[in-house]
């Protein structure tokens, strides 16, 4: 049986690997699209391929929740619910700002980056992070 430290380490490695693959695919796809004339079906494949690490991060997150103890599981569930709510609010508000107030258009793939940024911020403000041994 894995310890909680090992579970967290595995999760962080998986997330870091997903992020690295995502960054590589995103930048290389942009370069390919900029420098080469390619068929639309290849563009579709590249778009789906770039999205794959996003799906993999959620698999890693779900796996982490499944393997964690009941307390971590409840904290993570709360963090994900809060982050998703905040993400939906921000993206909806931004959509209306674009529509009514001519705010610059943001591509929807930013939602993924924003989601992880929000998870980080929500996690940092969680009270349990600042507890000490006694």
């Amino acid at each position: 049986m894995q310890t909680s430290k090992e579970i967290k380490k595995e999760y962080l490695i998986r997330i870091a690997a997903c992020m690295a693959v995502y960054t590589f695919l995103l930048t290389s796809t942009k370069i390919i699209m900029r420098d080469y004339e390619i068929h639309n079906w290849i563009k579709i494949i590249l778009a789906i391929l770039t999205s794959m690490p996003v799906g993999a991060t959620f698999l890693a997150l779900m796996d982490y929740i499944k393997k964690s103890d009941e307390y971590i599981r409840s904290l993570m569930a709360e963090t994900i619910i809060n982050s998703t709510g905040l993400l939906l609010f921000i993206t909806t508000a931004w959509g209306f700002l674009e529509l009514y107030a001519n705010f610059p258009h943001l591509e929807t793939y930013w939602a993924f980056i924003l989601f992880w940024a929000i998870i980080g911020i929500v996690g940092a403000f969680r009270k349990d992070c600042h507890e000490t041994d006694s």
Binding site: S4, E70, L75
Partner: protein
């Protein structure tokens, strides 16, 4: 819910990490249990009770009794 988990742990000389390892939970979970921020599941409560060889109600005060 009032509990005496910290007293029991220090009585046996366990650190939070050691107790967590024995129960298969994180140190954060032990901190949350000792500060009553987390009410354990029945399964974890039974595990803790068995480890300290005490009935559950000796560890967590029953607020309905």
């Amino acid at each position: 819910m009032k509990q005496i988990l910290k007293e029991l742990r220090t009585e046996l000389g366990f650190t939070q990490q050691e107790l967590g390892d024995k129960l298969g939970v994180s140190r954060q979970a032990i901190i949350a249990l000792e500060t009553s921020k987390h009410i354990p599941s029945l399964e974890l409560a039974y595990k803790i009770a068995a480890l300290f060889d005490r009935p559950i109600e000796d560890i967590w005060e029953n607020p309905y009794r």
